[in-house]
């Protein structure tokens, strides 16, 4: 007899790991720089989702915003705010990194006329 709750939890986590694997595969194996950037974004977002999931509380998690409940209920039920705050930081930094990579890719395209890393390697000799 499978506990359906445990199954769903495990499935969500495994699916996220699978998505992270897809992102990692794309970064390593795809030759085109645009696809590498897209894969990097997928990887980063998946890791962020996993981090948020670590702070979730299963029965009845409520948002960590105080709306006038009794204090014990709020502290006892609200989800962990720390992963959310860290993920907020991570999103911004990931976006800044992405942006710089995209600008470098744009400039590479203007200089070399291609974004295929194999061709760029050949052009450089």
């Amino acid at each position: 007899m499978i506990d359906i709750e445990v199954f769903i939890k495990t499935f969500i986590v495994l699916a996220l790991f699978g998505t992270a694997g897809v992102g990692l595969y794309g970064v390593v194996a795809k030759p085109h720089a645009t696809k590498k950037i897209i894969s990097l974004t997928i990887l980063g977002d998946t890791v962020n989702a996993l981090a948020i999931l670590l702070g979730y509380r299963y029965p009845g998690g409520i948002p960590p915003v105080y709306t006038g409940q009794p204090p014990n209920e709020f502290v006892g039920r609200a989800v962990d705010p720390l992963p959310q705050a860290l993920v907020l930081t991570a999103i911004v930094i990931g976006m800044a990194v992405n942006l710089l990579i995209i600008y470098i890719a744009l400039q590479t395209y203007r200089l070399y006329g291609t974004l295929d890393t194999r061709l760029i390697k050949k052009l450089r000799g």
């Binding site: 915003v65 709306t67 006038g68 409940q69």
Partner: protein, 124 residues
């Protein structure tokens, strides 16, 4: 008296919300059945107005009519109402931009049109 009005608002909101699901289903079926881009836009309109605008108004009414979330329900209700208004404003502009682009590029079936009263120059 006040309790009656809030209860009616909550039930009306719930009705709009459930109706939105039905309109969305109709829109999804229509999307698959209609033959070309310009006629599919009409199914999309059903999905946007019946399936997004009215449910958002419904959410707003539900939040105003019940007492979950304390003071914060007014914030959520206001956001939902403003989002609904923005959808009402922006959805037709988006549909129109798509329709215009499809018309200029000829991405529709000319053979099923009953009439075409727009005299156009040669499209590229």
């Amino acid at each position: 008296m006040i309790e009656d009005i809030t209860a009616i608002a909550a039930w009306a909101g719930l009705a709009l919300f459930v109706g939105g699901a039905i309109w969305d289903l109709i829109a999804a079926i229509g999307m698959n059945r209609l033959p070309d881009f310009l006629s599919r836009l009409h199914a999309a309109t059903i999905g946007v107005i019946g399936g997004a605008f009215y449910p958002l108004i419904g959410i707003s009414l539900i939040l105003l009519g019940t007492d979950i979330m304390g003071e914060y329900r007014y914030i959520a209700a206001g956001s939902a109402a403003l989002t609904a208004f923005l959808i009402l404003l922006l959805a037709p502009a988006g549909s129109h931009a798509l329709a215009r682009a499809a018309r200029r590029r000829g991405l529709y079936r000319k053979d099923i049109l009953v009439t075409d009263q727009q005299e156009r120059g040669e499209t590229e």
